[in-house]
């Protein structure tokens, strides 16, 4: 028995000593005391030093977009640091352009706050709030995509532009030992200020999507912050070419709902790309929009449809449908949302038809 007991005790004891040493070092060596953080040369905060700038800002309820949750991989959490950021780290270099380096733009998840620091962040980020929302409804759109409706607290309302996104916090749950934030486009209309709708697809082993698909039920409370994003509706008279695949439908839904509620009289075409008929969803709703909107056409396109399928719509990838159906792009603008490969091929198709590149807005994920 002692053969098992003694090694176990010694091993546990030694690990505990090392852990204790590291904890003491963390409390003493890593303790940078209180430092002053100045934002946009007007707002001053006294914060605890030692953490990353991103988490320090979150502590102060200032939310910077970060799709990867501070791992230095998404490159969204860029902040201009005028003073006190230290040298640029190797982990930031892959996400910083030459302009960023010239303008002292850094990744806030990688820079630590160790001394007084002066930063610049866009004013609209001060509008970003954190909400404790309650899941009011969950609808299965396909086998792997759900539409979730969240109710915000009674006294809270969210102001966003159609096309923007929010971040949802996946808490610690069985099988996941870290909190992460993930970005999801808002599917509901901005006029609905007390509710939010998100379209969330299941990603195998995805921390947040597993949480949403396997653990979240009606009545649960979740933490959401936002809104963020440059992808939004632009008010003009140009014809809109909307393109989405999978959960990329969410911001397009928000745009269409907004146009419907405001009775906006613009010509719009929506190309919805999917693989098979079972990957398409909300078809009835889009058909209904064809009746209610001013001049709207819904064009579903399937890439892996077989002759056995009962399908008389467009076939092939979504860019093929654009190549075939779109005649002249000069008076049009594009709203694209989906994966990188789709966006790249659609941008190519649209520009070849004459849509000005600067009028093609997209949300890549």
């Amino acid at each position: 028995m002692s053969n098992i007991l003694i090694p176990t005790v010694i091993f546990a004891l030694m690990s505990a000593i090392f852990a204790l040493l590291l904890t003491i070092a963390d409390r003493t060596v890593n303790n940078y005391g209180e430092v002053k953080m100045t934002i946009n040369e007007e707002k001053e905060y006294t914060v605890e030093g030692g953490s990353t700038l991103l988490s320090t800002l979150i502590e102060e309820k200032i939310f910077i977009p970060s799709a990867c949750g501070g791992k230095g991989t998404c490159g969204y959490c860029k902040v201009q640091i005028d003073e006190g950021g230290g040298p640029v780290l190797a982990t930031e270099m892959t996400h910083l352009t030459e302009d960023d380096l010239k303008n002292n733009v850094r990744l806030s998840c990688q820079c630590k706050v160790k001394q007084d620091i002066k930063i610049q962040i866009p004013e609209e980020l001060f509008n970003v709030r954190e909400y404790d929302a309650v899941v009011e409804n969950i609808t299965d759109l396909t086998d792997v995509i759900k539409l979730l409706r969240f109710k915000l607290p009674e006294d809270a309302e969210i102001n966003f532009k159609p096309g923007q996104y929010v971040q949802l916090k996946a808490p610690i749950y069985e099988g996941n030992d870290e909190e992460v934030y993930r970005a999801y486009s808002i599917a509901s209309s901005p006029t609905m200020k007390n509710y939010l709708e998100l379209v969330i697809g299941y990603v195998p082993e995805g921390i947040a999507t597993t949480y949403v698909h396997r653990h979240l039920t009606v009545g649960d409370e979740v933490s959401i912050n936002g809104p963020y994003g440059d992808f939004h509706y632009h008010d003009n008279d140009r014809e809109m070419i909307m393109v989405a695949t999978g959960t990329g439908v969410a911001p397009i839904l928000s745009l269409l709902n907004y146009m419907k509620e405001h009775n906006i009289k613009r010509k719009a075409r929506f190309y919805f790309g999917a693989k098979t008929p079972k990957d398409l969803f909300m078809l009835d709703y889009f058909k209904e929009l064809e009746e209610t909107l001013f001049d709207f056409k819904f064009i579903p396109t399937l890439s892996r449809v077989t002759d056995d399928d009962d399908w008389d719509g467009e076939r092939g990838r979504v860019n093929n449908a654009i190549d075939k159906l779109l005649e002249d792009g000069e008076d049009k603008e594009g709203y694209l949302c989906g994966n990188e490969a789709m966006i790249e091929s659609v941008v190519k198709s649209l520009t070849s038809k004459g849509v000005p590149e600067e009028l093609i807005y997209y949300d890549k994920f």
């Binding site: 010694i10 091993f11 090392f18 590291l22 070092a25 890593n30 230290g86 982990t91 630590k112």
Partner: protein
């Protein structure tokens, strides 16, 4: 081996039994950080410091804790834990008190944890029954030898940059070939003294 003078072990660890050129240990950071002399010198210093400290820590753990309890078989896991904890500690200390070195090493500092030369030195000192002084001389010598190897390679790579290396061999490929040639050159020292 007991009768060997620590000074001989020290010199041998640098030249005749160089960690890189005779044991090929610690290759990942050796290849990854050997692009510039200044950075590789920084990493070399850090590796030497970690080697010297962890060898001392592991020497005491082995002879004063593991042997009395007949737990020599635990040496692998205990050595790994002590090295990992020490590197974490070092990272915090460097970040606070030597920020220039910390930023120069960047993400490569945590790499020291998985540098097999560090574990290799602790294990060699046990296998070869070194005394405390011999162990210390061996660890410092190994660190200096590792630094010598990486700085020499960085010097060569800085010159290779302007040479016309065939496309398929550029980067780590030519670095490994260079290392092989340097190892051959270091065999020239092997007649001086042998410690194994």
């Amino acid at each position: 081996m007991i009768e060997l003078n620590p000074m001989i072990i020290f010199v041998a660890a640098i030249f005749t039994n160089n960690m890189i050129f005779s044991n090929f240990l610690g290759m990942c950071s050796y290849i990854a950080v050997s692009k510039e002399i200044t950075t590789s010198l920084g990493l070399g210093q850090a590796v030497t410091f970690v080697l010297a400290c962890t060898a001392v820590i592991n020497y005491f753990i082995y002879y004063y804790i593991l042997i009395p309890f007949n737990l020599e078989f635990l040496r692998f896991i205990i050595f790994i834990i002590s090295i990992a904890a020490f590197v974490q500690l070092l990272e915090m200390i460097l970040e606070r008190y030597l920020p220039n070195l910390y930023y120069a090493l960047g993400i490569f500092l945590p790499l020291i944890t998985v540098n097999c030369a560090i574990l290799g030195v602790s294990l060699f000192m046990i296998i070869r029954n070194y005394t405390f002084l011999q162990s210390f001389a061996f660890s410092v010598g190994s660190g200096i030898g590792w630094t010598l190897a990486i700085v020499a390679l960085a010097g060569i790579r800085q010159r290779i940059k302007i040479a016309s290396v065939p496309k398929g061999l550029q980067g780590p490929g030519i670095a490994l070939i260079t290392t092989g040639l340097m190892a051959l050159a270091f065999i020239g020292f092997s007649g001086i003294v042998q410690i194994q």
